[in-house]
């Protein structure tokens, strides 16, 4: 069951974070979610399962690709890589997000209304 916190993530946010993380290095699902949690200082409470529908969406749109491999802990894992289209999409999304964030910040900034 979803909780309130997840619902507060806007649509596409999780995908954006996944793409950004994968841009640094290819990762498998578990590592990916751990990385996102850790990097966000656990501020974002992400239900681990919600990662997978997002990954499937990215796969379907061919923004990432996946290959079976062996992890450092010797597990059979599926490693996700960013595609060229994925990199482009990420750039676009980030710039859009920044614009939005700037707009929101301006409105929320004290004493300027």
């Amino acid at each position: 069951m979803k909780t309130r916190e997840q619902r507060d993530l806007f649509p596409g946010a999780l995908e954006m974070m996944i793409l950004k993380t994968l841009k640094r290095q290819p990762l498998h699902g578990y590592a990916l979610v751990q990385h996102i949690k850790r990097t966000s200082n656990d501020l974002l409470q992400i239900e681990e399962g919600s990662l997978y529908p997002a990954l499937q969406r990215l796969l379907k749109e061919e923004l990432v690709k996946a290959e079976w491999g062996i992890s450092s802990t010797n597990r059979r894992v599926r490693i996700y890589k960013l595609t060229a289209a994925g990199a482009k999409h990420l750039e676009h999304e980030v710039s859009r997000f920044e614009k939005m964030l700037e707009g929101i910040t301006r409105v929320l900034a004290p004493g300027e209304s």
Binding site: Q56, K60, T73
Partner: protein, 888 residues
């Protein structure tokens, strides 16, 4: 081709996904164990942080699917499986629905064939029917579509701008003589361009040429396919040959294609319509007998044509107030005009059929509700596994849809049988027989059936689906949980459904009952005559030999004398109009009474009018109440005399002596010079027993008022049907070229008269029976379910000392309560619907005559509801308290 790849690689995708998620959990657990948790705790924690595994998998897979469609098919597969697992429910629901659908589809074949199918002419949307209207008369008769007079037609055709062409037609009888027996046919005289306006080409030969509707050029005839086949053996050489019609030679110029027919009329031949000079006189504007059609110019709307016709009529009204005051004109699209005839009957039958379907739906809804209750745990488990309520409702609706489609299919099958029966029953006149050919299960009917099935699915599926899925997870999942509030809500819905069924069934019973009462009333009420052992036959003198009225009088005088002289004949007579008659409309004429102000013709009172031979009253056994009857001496040389009926006296001479009073009947175009003296009062002859109960009637002797068309009436000592050959012989002894039609007994005439009514009543009765049956099943089902549910309660009651009679009373009371509500609403509904129907027909039978029908319907429904309640109630009394309580 991406999507195609996806389709085939999907299984692999799904397997990858499951494995990936398994690995994810494994890794997480290992991490947590490494962090110092026990394996058990770690497993819990991992799952908690991951969320709902199945839902995640499903959501992930959903990415790859055309979600809506695939979910739908999944629901269909699952639904079909559920129905197979529960064949009893499926069978009852499907059959119940099939009955309702079959009733609707069968009736709808008539709506489709008669009202929705366009007439078979070229571009029918461009053809309008021109009608005279008269709102004042419309109130009296209940419809406002009148034919047009010859002078009006001529003026309107000349002055209107909306139409390419305007044509007139008029029904007319033709006697065909020559080879074989003389025969009489219904034919039609039409304007020369009639077939051009319709855009129907002949199958053979040609249609009429311009100018052939001018005097002297009109001796040409076009035959119908049917007549050509029957009388001329489909011989193409007939075209160009001459035939003898009404004693004159006509050249056959064409044959119309098979199945050419427009609306009510089924003429066997067409000749040009010529207007004799006297029909063009201003006074002839009062004689409205032309059927007029017109084809719109392209780009001209019906509205424009209507407005123009109204303006033209207004001009006629101003110029000729004497004949046209109060008369307007309008234009109707031809399809609407043809469909209008069936509107009332179809509304009644369709309404009835829909009631049956509604009851069927209520039954299935109630079944579904019971079934949903039994499936609560299934739903609860699915919700616990992450199914949304929307998903469950959709699943249930899909199941309903499956039932509906199966029911619709079976219903169609039943309907094809119903249609065959219906077509067989539609046989009481040539016209109706030809109509029955239009009754087919066509695409429109199929579409209607599909639509009705889907609507039914929503009707009987939605409420149970919403109810069944409003779950309280905890109490439902707990074993033996009795979700109290829910079962209350369910019981309430059950009660509403049962009440609705009783209401609808009662309304239907009342409707059918009243219709049957009307029918019986018409069939068996006294007609004011004695119809037994009377033979009748129609004679229409259309030959030019009988142009002179005195010749007509002589002919009928001769024939009646011949008949009288035959052995086995008690008496013989003739009348211009036979009442009660199936085919001939009442002839109504306006009249004036001497000593009262003479009004404009249009403002005068109307009465039914008959010219009769002197022995007609004796032959029909119409009683003479006062004065004298007609004598053979009441001929042209004697002063004119008349007889009136009792209703006439009551209406026009309530406190006066009617004998010796004088009246003047407008049987001719211009006012007569002479007044007629009333010499006797006779009994009322009921026409349409219900519709014209106190129609005033006036008789004049046919010797003084000859007519070319009369019906012979012969009262015989023995079986009248055996007398038919002798009757023909007697007529042909006078004129061997004279066709004789409609030789039938008076009883046949009366029966024919309402055979249509019998068919409609049979249908209404069938539907009412069906409705009653379904309602009984519904009530029984719900009561049985209620009893089963309350077994526990009954056990406690009985353990606490309640007697069996108390238990019986508790259950019966519920049935009686619901029944009483249903009866109360049903009575109101039935009464108001019937009132509406009758008001639209312009007649309302007094309530005291109707009361027995209402009582009988209420009694019948109460009895059946009681029975349907009593059986389950008896079962409740058999509850063994120990067993009921141990069940806990």
């Amino acid at each position: 081709m991406m999507w195609l790849n996806q389709l085939f690689s999907r299984r692999r995708l799904y397997n990858d996904l499951s494995e990936e998620i398994r690995e994810h959990l494994g890794e997480k657990i290992e991490d947590l164990v490494a962090g110092g948790m026990s394996r058990k705790e770690a497993t819990h924690a991992a799952r908690r942080e991951f969320g709902n595994v199945r839902l995640t998998e499903e959501d992930s897979r959903a990415v790859w699917r055309w979600a809506a469609i695939e979910d739908f098919f999944m629901d269909v597969r699952f639904g079909a499986r559920m129905l197979r697992k529960n064949p009893g429910f499926a069978a009852v629901a499907i059959v119940t629905l099939a009955l309702g659908i079959a009733a609707n589809a069968t009736i709808f074949t008539m709506v489709s064939g008669w009202m929705l199918r366009p007439p078979r002419i070229k571009d029918h949307t461009g053809v309008v029917v021109i009608l005279s209207t008269n709102p004042a008369k419309a109130k009296e008769y209940g419809w406002d579509q009148n034919p047009v007079s010859v002078p009006d037609f001529v003026v309107w055709r000349e002055q209107s701008h909306s139409f390419e062409d305007m044509v007139a037609s008029q029904l007319s009888d033709f006697a065909l003589t020559g080879e074989g027996e003389p025969e009489r046919f219904e034919g039609m005289r039409v304007s020369a361009s009639y077939f051009d306006v319709l855009g129907v080409p002949p199958a053979l030969g040609r249609t009429f040429l311009p100018g052939e509707d001018q005097p002297g050029h009109d001796q040409v005839v076009i035959l119908s396919d049917g007549l050509w086949q029957r009388r001329f053996g489909s011989n193409p050489k007939v075209v160009g040959e001459a035939v003898r019609l009404n004693g004159n030679s006509y050249k056959v110029v064409g044959i119309m294609p098979k199945g050419h027919r427009l609306g009510y009329y089924g003429p066997q031949m067409w000749t040009p319509l010529v207007f004799p000079p006297q029909s063009l006189l201003p006074a002839a504007r009062d004689d409205r007998s032309l059927d007029v059609m017109a084809r719109l110019k392209s780009g001209v709307s019906v509205e424009t044509a209507k407005a123009e016709m109204a303006a033209l009529a207004q001009r006629s009204e101003q110029t000729y107030p004497g004949t046209n005051k109060g008369w307007g004109a309008t234009a109707w699209p031809i399809q609407k005009y043809l469909a209008d005839e069936f509107k009332v009957a179809m509304r009644l039958l369709m309404g009835t059929a829909i009631f049956v379907l509604l009851i069927a739906c209520a039954n299935i809804a109630s079944l579904q509700l019971t079934r949903a209750a039994a499936r609560q745990r299934e739903f609860a488990v699915r919700v616990a596994l992450g199914a949304s309520r929307f998903r469950l409702v959709r699943q249930l609706l899909v199941e309903s849809l499956l039932v509906a489609l199966a029911g619709g299919g079976l219903g169609l099958l039943l309907a094809s049988w119903g249609v065959a029966l219906l077509r067989g029953a539609l046989n009481w006149s040539d016209y109706v027989t030809s109509l029955s050919g239009e009754v087919t299960l066509d695409n429109t009917v199929l579409a209607f059936t599909l639509g009705a099935s889907v609507c039914a699915a929503i009707l009987f599926g939605l409420a149970p689906a919403l109810h069944g899925t409003a779950l309280d997870l905890h109490s439902t999942l707990k074993e033996g949980g009795r979700a109290g509030s829910q079962s209350t809500a369910r019981n309430r819905t059950h009660s509403v459904l049962v009440t609705a069924e009783i209401t609808l069934a009662l309304a239907l019973l009342i409707g059918a009952g009243l219709d049957i009462q009307d029918l019986l009333h018409t069939l068996y009420a006294g007609f004011g005559i004695d119809p037994n052992q009377v033979l009748t036959a129609n004679i229409s003198l259309s030959s030019t030999r009988y142009k002179e009225p005195s010749k007509q009088a002589d002919f009928f005088k001769n024939v009646v004398q011949h008949l009288d002289a035959l052995p086995g004949v008690i008496s013989a007579g003739a009348t211009t109009t036979l009442v009660p008659s199936a085919t001939e409309p009442e002839r109504a004429v306006t009249f004036s009474i001497a000593g009262q102000p003479v009004l404009l013709r249009t403002a005068r009172e109307q009465t039914a009018y008959y010219a009769i031979s002197s022995d007609y009253l004796r032959t029909q056994r119409i009683p003479l109440l006062r004065g004298r009857s007609f004598l053979p001496t009441d001929n042209v040389q004697a002063p004119p005399v008349a007889l009136v009926n009792q209703a006439f006296v009551q209406r026009y001479f309530p406190n006066e002596e009617p004998l010796g009073k004088r009246v003047r009947l407008d049987t001719t175009a211009s006012d007569r010079a002479d007044w007629t003296e009333i010499v006797g009062v006779v009994g009322d002859v009921k026409d349409l027993a219900r519709e014209r109960k106190d129609m005033s009637q006036v008789y004049e002797p046919s010797l003084q008022r000859p007519s070319p068309g009369m019906t012979l009436v012969v009262r015989t000592r023995s079986d009248p049907t055996a007398f038919a050959p002798m009757l023909r012989r007697a007529v042909w002894d006078v004129d061997e070229d004279q066709p004789i039609t409609r030789v039938q007994t008076m009883n046949q005439v009366i029966a024919d008269y309402r055979t249509g009514g019998v068919t409609v009543c049979t249908m209404m009765g069938t539907f009412a029976g069906l409705a009653l049956g379904l309602a009984v099943i519904g009530v029984f089902g719900v009561m049985a379910y209620t009893v089963a549910q309350r077994t526990h309660e009954m056990g406690i009651r009985m353990a606490l000392g309640a007697k069996r009679s108390d238990v019986l009373r508790i259950v019966l009371m519920k049935g009686i309560f619901l029944g009483a509500i249903g009866v109360a609403i049903g009575l109101g509904l039935g009464a108001s619907l019937m009132w509406l129907q009758q008001a639209s027909e312009g007649v309302v039978m007094p309530f005291d005559q109707r009361a027995p029908v209402y009582l009988a319907a209420v009694f019948l429904i109460s009895l059946t509801v009681l029975l349907a309640t009593y059986v389950p109630a008896r079962r409740a009394t058999k509850v063994d308290p120990i067993v009921a309580l141990r069940h806990e």
